[in-house]
Every structure is written in structure tokens, then in C-alpha cells.
Subunit: 178 residues, 2 copies
């Protein structure tokens, strides 16, 4: 369960490609489905990933690795993306996410030259001290949690249509989670 | 929440492509990770999907739509694939799954000529009477449940590495489910 930069990067790199195959070309009935008020549809999830790529992961990593004395992270905005990317097509969003992700990985490679930097820390508004390697691990698992969310949201559209099989399909029993 | 053949097909068609982007080229540390004894790694999940494509979904649909009097489904074997595809590379498996899926969809289109056929039923060993449209819906949600499983299994490799963020990431809280 150790942290390995190479395997984290191989996962981070493929997320936009997976999402492209998954969502581009799908009909709006799939892309605009959600789990009820206050929950996100697959398209909005991509907006959240774009926003995180711009304002969360790399900016926080830069702060951790910087010379600044005050290492407190800004609170991550989980709502602005709902307005910002409202008019984007899914293909535009995923392409934007893909370019940002390529840049983010490049930036991370430039920032981290020595393994010891992974042990440096910043101050999370809720969790307190967190290390660079924990931030990077979370960045990757955050991708996976949202692939999982998109999958669950789409599966739930067919919750009734599967008839008696509902009790067999684990995904239909998961709660509305990030 | 009604059943729409076109949107089910658009989802069924993309599953092998999504899995290809997700898994082909990933290192074995990802592909051979599981959630403990008796659980499947991502590679074994693909074996299960291949097996289902050969022996489950279309054979059951054919039985439902056939003239046979006895409409009882065979019990679906959830273990043979662990041996059968053990020596396959992930790329071989996904390519095999992709060809089988293309054939399955073609077959389904040939089999179903009138909407009324979707109301015909077979006898499931546990659930009793199930309709063709419920079987087809389940086929698709079954894909999604296994995409979700693969995602969760991989996320859990980094359960400890994310540090305090663990409590924030929904995917790490899901149980070991199908």
C-alpha cells in the first residue's frame, strides 16, 4: 500500500481518456441524469474535475513545496463549476480536462525532483497537516471516486428497469456519495 | 426510468472501449490487486465479463424468445472464468470481450424485431419470472457494476496512502460488492 509516483502518474494520465470513451457521444439522457436535488450529473462531475485541476491539486502542491511560511490551503470551492461550465458540451469539457491534466502532470514532474519533497506538508482546512504524497494520492483516488460516481448515477437510471435483479446489483445499493 | 433500447445499446457498445482505455497498458500492480481472499482483481473481472457474454446474456435472451416450453435459465457459473482466462493478457481479454460484445449486440438486434418481444419472459433460478427487457437492462447495469468494482478495487490500493482524506473519499467506504 505504499506510494509509487510512477503508478499514480499512469492512473492520472488515463482518466481523461477513460472519460472520453465513457461519455463523449452519449445521449443527453445519460449525461444529464442525477441522483436528485443537490447531486451532480455526469456532465457536472467533469466540471468539478476541471475546476479541481485548475484551482485545487497543483496549487496546493505548489504551496506545500514553496518557501511560503503560511501553508494553509484555500478551501476548495465545490459549487462554482456548476455555473462556469454550464454551456460547455461534454466533448469540450473532457478535452479541456485532458489538456489541463497533461499540464498538471508535467508541472508535478517539474516540481518534484527528490523523494524527500513528498514528505513536506501543508495545512488542510479540516484535516490539518497533510503531506505532499497524501495530496497526490488523493488527487488520483479522487479521479476514481468520480468515475465511480458517474457509473453509479448512470446505473441508477435503470434501477427499476432491471426488475427483480435490483437486489443482485451492488451498484444500485450504494448511497449517494462523492 | 423507462427502458429504451437505443440508449441501452449505446452503453453496451462502449463498455469494451472504456475498459480498454482504463486497463490496457496498466502495470500488473493495478491489474492484480484485489480486496482480499475470494474477491476478484480487475483482470478477473474481465474474465467474468467474457464468460457472461458467451454463456449468460444472449443465451438467456434466446431462450426467452424461443419456442421452447421450458424457459428455465441455467445457473450462471461465476467461477470457471478464474481458470479459463488465467493465462490471457489484459489486452487479449479486452479484445476478446470487445468482439464478443459486438456479436452479442448484433444478435440481439436480429432477435428483437418487435417491441412486444421485450415483454416475453423466462424463469430465473432465484428470481422466478423475468422479462426480456429486464434481462437486457440487467446486462447493461451489470457492465456498470463491474466498472464500478474495478474502480473501487484500484482505489482501495491507496486507501492508506491518502492519509486523513480517507474519510472524505466515498469510494473507500463502499463494501466489497459485485
Amino acid at each position: 500500500m505504499a506510494f509509487h509516483m510512477e503508478e499514480v502518474i499512469e492512473m492520472l494520465e488515463r482518466t481523461p481518456k477513460v472519460l472520453e470513451q465513457y461519455l463523449v457521444g452519449l445521449s443527453d439522457d445519460w449525461l444529464k441524469a442525477d441522483e436528485g436535488e443537490g447531486t451532480w450529473n455526469p456532465s457536472q462531475v467533469i466540471g468539478h474535475l476541471i475546476y479541481g485541476e485548475k484551482y485545487n491539486w497543483i496549487p496546493r502542491l505548489e504551496l506545500i513545496l514553496s518557501d511560503k511560511k503560511d501553508k494553509r490551503f484555500l478551501v476548495f470551492d465545490r459549487f462554482s463549476h456548476l455555473q462556469l461550465y454550464k454551456e460547455y458540451s461534454i466533448s469540450e469539457m473532457i478535452s479541456e480536462f485532458g489538456s489541463l491534466r497533461t499540464d498538471s502532470i508535467e508541472k508535478m514532474k517539474q516540481l518534484i525532483k527528490h523523494e524527500s519533497q513528498l514528505e513536506l506538508s501543508g495545512i488542510h482546512p479540516v484535516y490539518g497537516e497533510v503531506k505532499a504524497r497524501e495530496l497526490i494520492s488523493t488527487w488520483m483516488v479522487h479521479d476514481l471516486t468520480h468515475i465511480s460516481q458517474i457509473t453509479r448515477v448512470m446505473a441508477k437510471r435503470y434501477e427499476m428497469a432491471v426488475g427483480p435483479w435490483k437486489s443482485y446489483l451492488g451498484i444500485l445499493k450504494n448511497n449517494t456519495q462523492k
